[in-house]
Symmetry: C2
Subunit: 142 residues, 2 copies
DNA sequence: ATCTACATTATAATAATTCTAAACTGTTGA
DNA sequence: TCAACAGTTTAGAATTATTATAATGTAGAT
């Protein structure tokens, strides 16, 4: 979903009703310079700051999942205890900063294309995800 | 932890007391031909089948985490809702079968070495993980 | 055999997420 | 314009995965 667009129209295009809550979520997620990585918790905090009226936690979950299904968001698995989402839905890889728990997009030029020599017989490849875990140089890591 | 070893000695070596429960868990995890991928739930089921006496859920969690800390197990993130563990602790990548929710080790020869051209400044790379999601060819996928 | 630190246990607590059922609201079309 | 319906939102309950607690048990040293 490109920034600066008419969110009402965009929502309608994929068959989602442009309700107040959904439009607000679009603004929070897509009216920004860079792609945005967040957990549900982050998003709830942001929304409750930026909205005058409150939004239900269940609505945030529903809406995030509706956006995900429609390809407006991508889920990233890093840590089994939290779901991270990414407003950049194109195929790309990530750095995960284990000090700050921050997720950072890789530029296409950062990582060479991953070459899969042999796939499981009878299956097709849906996606190839690379996660590079990084941390401060001067710190004990597991 | 190689199979066929004396688990009591192995546990002692890393400073874990070889209790009944821990030795039993070693047998279930490491007395097998191939590396083993499992969720806590899988393991609890297996243990309660193979043991005459019962084992507490909390003990399974504690012991899995003790093994992980000592390098006997590796945690794999695939899905934010479940923790998968792997008895193969060497650096290697995975296929994840989205039909069966099965995790499969990649052979070293299956995937070429991933070339990271540019890392985040001031950080060192802790690990590089590739996850290849696969599914049946004749099936609708997201 | 006894002691002590570490383990195990059942249960309670917490956290993340999903479900439920009632109230609400876009949208359609009369 | 407005009634009607289907999709949405909501608060709170339920569920699931995981961790904490505190009492009891046990391995290993003395």
């Amino acid at each position: 979903m490109p920034k600066n667009c008419n969110f009402i129209e965009k929502l309608r295009e994929v068959g989602l009703r442009p309700t107040k809550q959904r439009v607000k979520m679009c603004e929070v997620l897509y009216n920004r310079e860079k792609t945005f990585h967040f957990t549900i918790n982050d998003l709830v905090k942001l929304l409750s700051e930026k909205m005058n009226q409150k939004i239900s936690l269940a609505t945030v979950y529903n809406t995030v999942h509706a956006f995900e299904k429609k390809g407006y968001l991508k889920e990233i698995s890093i840590d089994s205890h939290k779901s991270y989402f990414d407003t950049n839905t194109s195929a790309h890889h990530h750095f995960f900063d284990e000090d700050t728990h921050e997720l950072i997009d890789c530029d296409e030029s950062d990582i060479d294309k991953v070459n899969i020599r042999k796939n499981i017989t009878g299956k097709k490849i849906n996606s190839v995800e690379v996660l590079v875990r990084v941390a401060s140089d001067n710190q004990t890591q597991k």
